[in-house]
């Protein structure tokens, strides 16, 4: 290939941002050598650089997303010159690098203000004043930057009324600040930020500064954070504004409930930034035990445990690991799927923020058992604190010999690479995740072949959800049989649920499978606004259930029999009086925004679904229901991946339950 590169030279800052990323990531990925830079870029003679064969290119292509992140983080957007420099360093054709950069919502290929607030207006935050927050920000900072979302349709309530944030005087003051800081700050709407227990949530993307979140957020806090002088250290807004452990895990605050926790037992007790504290609280014992058992021993316990994946598909983990362990092709990989972007889901975030070493230890057990020396942890780009905690944990684990050569002197090598997503729900789909990691657009691959056979870099790969992985610790320590004694026959062990919406104490709750919906809600202090009209199970890809199912035992088999699914563990009650048209419209918007665009049923079907729903909301219901049913069927039957398969699920369940009937209770 003859690489065509425009002659525009990168700025010093752009070059430095790319070089820093490639140096830091490159050195830890064994066997990946970067092509020589071949002279200064931007030099007209280097305008056409010839790089080795396809194979050589693909060896470093996986550094594309980290390099794009590096430039975005430092400069707030990716200029043509910066993209060209990345293309040159990695031997990636610029058109393809551009195709990758434009795939992600957190990356910008057009110049934008360097300080951006991503304001969640998704279903949980909507119930907690997100639209009012958007209205206030619109008043203070001007219209949302991308012009997309509901801003154009002027759906926001009149700002400054009834939300207690600011008031007219403060609004005027901050508006002045926005003018003074013109073009330095802006805001955009965002899908669920995984902070639903502290809604409404905001992510701050600040060029040159570490990312940060605000939850619960107010317009004042957002404007203050946006206008804070640049280059504040990490101790700034981030850690202060994240919900504290005991808020996110209410059970941990009560000694009696805390004593019964398995997966969340260290939350609020062990310091998530200290490996020695982790060890004091029982950490690293499972890995030792796993090595004592040997790979076959671990697989035996895993089989006995009957652990099923917690990422949504409920696939038996033992079958996956056995297939990878036994695969002839080498190397093997283990991947931790921490892309958690299903609206309403935040359990993985809480686990990673509060117990990061547990995730690393579990991944190491996965590597040991399946014969993988490298693990990748792919975390969604909207999780700055979890990312920092994991980075820190990986660093300490390397220093202590928990990662690296001859792990803890136990005779095997294992290391973890942390990779950030960049704003794309679809990258949680396992094969899209592989493509994203490899430096391609996050488009799902067609299966077969399955990941256990040809996954990351085309090699046998065991990919698991964060929650699935941490179940390995009790399974290995206490044995598979003991583990399977909890729960039901077909759904064993403990399960994390994400409660948000109309519930008194939102948060992550750990219960054993078989707990009923009603019991779970009681644990969370009951619902707010009386008996809920409906409960959304499984997030945007899940479905609403009505009162007839409030005593449903929460297991894979019972939910399946009831025509719904646990999915990612979202339990979101909605009070009667909820505007379900608005809720389902936001869900339809989500799928239209997050479709990768690869296949027709989903790419166009999600657009038509949103349009038909708009018409349903304003008028003649009859014809639209038929259209929506037709769309649901083609998306479910003919789409490539689970996104398309489930894009109509919540809406169809809402229709079945009469939640969208104009004269129904739902209004």
């Amino acid at each position: 290939m003859d690489l065509h590169l425009a002659a525009a030279p990168p700025t010093g800052a752009e070059r430095a941002a790319v070089d820093a990323v490639l140096a830091s990531v490159g050195e830890s990925s064994a066997g990946n050598t970067l092509p020589a830079t071949g002279g200064a870029s931007g030099d007209a003679s280097a305008a056409r650089a010839s790089v080795g064969g396809t194979r050589a290119r693909h060896r470093v292509r996986h550094l594309l997303l980290p390099a794009l992140h590096g430039v975005q983080d430092a400069l707030g957007w990716i200029s043509p010159a910066a993209l060209n420099y990345i293309s040159e360093r990695l031997g990636v054709p610029p058109a393809e690098a551009y195709g990758v950069a434009t795939f992600y919502s957190l990356l910008s290929t057009t110049e934008q203000p360097p300080r951006v607030a991503h304001v969640c207006d998704d279903i949980a935050c909507r119930g907690a004043g997100a639209l009012q927050l958007c209205g206030q920000l619109e008043q203070r900072l001007g219209p949302a930057h991308h012009g997309g979302g509901p801003a154009k349709a002027a759906h926001y309530d009149a700002p400054g009324h009834g939300t207690g944030a600011g008031g007219a005087g403060a609004d005027r003051q901050a508006a002045g600040a926005a003018v003074a800081g013109a073009e330095r700050t802006t805001w955009v709407t965002s899908p669920c930020l995984g902070l639903c227990e502290a809604a409404p949530a905001v992510l701050l993307q600040l060029a040159g500064d570490p990312g940060a979140t605000l939850a619960p957020a107010t317009a004042d806090a957002v404007c203050t954070a946006l206008h804070r002088p640049a280059a504040r250290p990490a101790a700034g807004p981030a850690s202060a504004a994240t919900p504290p452990a005991l808020h996110s895990v209410p059970q941990a605050a009560d000694p009696a409930s805390a004593a019964r926790l398995t997966l969340l037992r260290r939350v609020g007790r062990a310091d998530p930034e200290s490996l020695s504290d982790y060890r004091r609280h029982g950490g690293c014992a499972a890995l030792r035990r796993a090595v004592a058992l040997g790979p076959d021993g671990v697989l035996r316990e895993l089989r006995d445990s009957r652990l099923q994946g917690r990422g949504g598909a409920a696939f038996p983990t033992a079958a996956k690991w056995e297939a990878v362990a036994g695969a002839a092709a080498r190397p093997h990989y283990v991947v931790c799927n921490a892309d958690e972007s299903e609206p309403g889901t935040f359990k993985d975030r809480v686990v990673m923020e509060q117990d990061p070493f547990a995730v690393i230890e579990a991944l190491a057990i996965g590597g040991f058992t399946t014969g993988a020396a490298t693990g990748y942890l792919y975390i969604r780009g909207e999780y700055p604190l979890a990312t920092r905690r994991l980075q820190h944990a990986i660093g300490q684990a390397r220093d202590w010999g928990l990662l690296g050569r001859d792990v803890m002197g136990l005779g095997f090598d294992f290391d973890v690479e942390l990779r950030r997503g960049a704003g794309a729900y679809i990258c949680g789909e396992e094969t899209a995740l592989f493509n994203s990691l490899e430096g391609f657009r996050g488009e799902p691959r067609s299966k077969p072949p399955y990941p256990t056979e040809a996954g990351l870099f085309g090699k046998p790969t065991a990919v698991n959800n964060v929650e699935t992985l941490i179940n390995l610790l009790p399974i290995v320590l206490g044995g598979g049989r003991a583990y399977a004694a909890a729960g039901t026959d077909q759904s064993t062990g403990p399960k994390l649920f994400c409660l948000s919406g109309a519930v008194a104490r939102p948060g992550v709750y750990e219960v054993t499978f078989g707990t009923t919906l009603r019991e779970l809600l009681a644990l969370a202090g009951g619902t707010t606004g009386g008996e809920p009209r409906a409960i959304l199970l499984g997030g945007a890809a899940g479905s609403f259930v009505g009162p007839e199912h409030f005593d449903l035992p929460l297991t894979f088999e019972d939910t399946r029999a009831a025509g719904t699914a646990l999915g990612s563990g979202v339990v979101m009650p909605f009070a009667s009086g909820t505007d379900f048209v608005d809720v389902t419209r936001r869900i339809a918007q989500f799928f239209r925004d997050e479709s990768c665009g690869q296949c027709v049923p989903c790419r166009v079907g999600t657009v038509r679904q949103e349009e038909a729903l708009q018409r349903l909301a304003t008028g003649s219901a009859g014809a639209e229901r038929g259209l929506l049913a037709d769309l649901a069927q083609v998306m479910g039957d003919a789409s490539i991946c689970g996104l398309g398969h489930t894009a109509a699920s919540a809406l169809q369940s809402a229709l079945r339950l009469g939640l969208l009937d104009r004269n129904g209770e739902g209004q």
Binding site: M1, D2, L3, H4, A6, T54, P80, L83, P93, A95, A97, Y98, G99, T102, F103, Y104, S105, T109, T110, G147, G148, G149, P150, K152, A153, H155, V188, P191, G423, A424, S446, Q589, R592, D593, E594, S595, C596, G597, Q598, C599, V600, P601, R603, T606, V607, R608, E611, A612, Q614, R615, A617, T618, L627, D630, Q633, V634, D637, A638, S639, I640
Partner: protein, 309 residues
């Protein structure tokens, strides 16, 4: 294919058929002369199975599967005529026709539209076309809320940037064929790629640079594979614009390209003694349908020499 290749037997619509190992369900359908719609599939490109118009029902599979990409396996039970299959094919055709200008997409497509009873109008009147650059500016994950009164389309002005070919993306079904032809499957130039996401995904050069400033070497292989006329010879585009394009009046002459010694077969499409486009047979052993700038556009030098010094 070598002699040691084994064959597999499968059942399609109740009829048993033997195909070579590695063949697809589509191959089996073709062997049985079952008319199977395809849009993103081409014999000379790696299947991307993105359009989903070829889906079939496979016993044991929860969802339908793409015939063009799924390998045939021993004992498979396939249905191509069930209500489920017909529904998905009809909907895919309707979704495409309601969002893309398919007026140059060929006769086969029109036949399938009729066969499957596609009614793209039921999604509402088409939304107005995008202004120049508007689709390109869409940021991933953000779109303006529709009001439902019209059906969104990929309508947009054509990109006319040189004298050789036109990119008229209002006709683009995003089948990935041009990207494959420009990249690993033929040309290895990688001048174009898919950019953006979801309904805003599009074929683009880096930062939407005009083609003459991109890596494009004008081999025209992308034109050769484009199924909808989104990529079109400038000569054909001008004729169509003038209303003078008339395939009835065209003759196709096979010849061997004289620019070099490789021996590429050319098909010269001539209308009124003017070469209006050049293709190469897909099944030709040398080209597999692909050419270089000299074979593809050399005729322009021949024809235009008097007025272009």
């Amino acid at each position: 294919m070598n002699e040691t290749q084994r064959s597999v037997a499968l059942t399609v619509d109740g009829r048993t058929v033997q195909v070579a190992e590695g063949a697809t369900i589509l191959d089996a359908c073709r062997q049985l002369e079952i008319d199977t719609p395809t849009m993103c599939f081409a014999d000379n490109l790696t299947p991307v199975n993105a359009c989903r118009v070829c889906v079939v029902e496979l016993e044991g599979s929860r969802t339908l599967v793409p015939a063009c990409a799924r390998a045939a396996a021993e004992g498979m039970q396939v249905r191509t005529d069930s209500e489920r299959v017909r529904h998905s094919r009809r909907l895919v055709l309707e979704l495409l026709a309601s969002s893309v200008d398919l007026s140059c997409a060929g006769e086969a497509l029109q036949r399938w539209q009729a066969d499957y009873g596609a009614e793209p109008e039921r999604f509402g009147p088409s939304a107005p076309a995008a202004a120049p650059g508007e689709r390109e500016r869409q940021h991933a994950g953000h779109h303006a809320m529709p009001d439902g009164s019209t059906a969104a389309t990929v309508g947009q002005p054509a990109k006319v940037e040189d004298d050789l070919y036109v990119r008229d993306y209002k006709r683009c079904i995003l089948c990935y064929k041009c990207v494959e032809a420009c990249g690993e499957d033929a040309q290895n130039t990688f001048a174009i790629a898919v950019a953006g996401r979801g309904f805003d995904a599009r074929i683009a050069t880096e930062y939407e640079q005009p083609l003459p400033d991109s890596a494009c070497v004008y081999c025209g292989n992308c034109i050769g594979v484009c199924p909808t006329g989104a990529l079109m010879f400038k000569s054909e585009y001008d004729h169509r614009a003038a209303g003078t394009w008339d395939e009835e009046r065209q003759s196709v002459t096979r010849t061997v390209c004289s620019y070099c010694g490789v021996g590429c077969n050319l098909e010269l499409h001539v209308q009124d003694e003017e070469i209006v486009k050049v293709t190469s047979p897909e099944d030709h052993s040398v080209t597999h349908g692909h050419l270089c700038i000299k074979g593809r556009f050399g005729f322009q030098f021949v024809q235009n020499r008097p007025d272009k010094p």
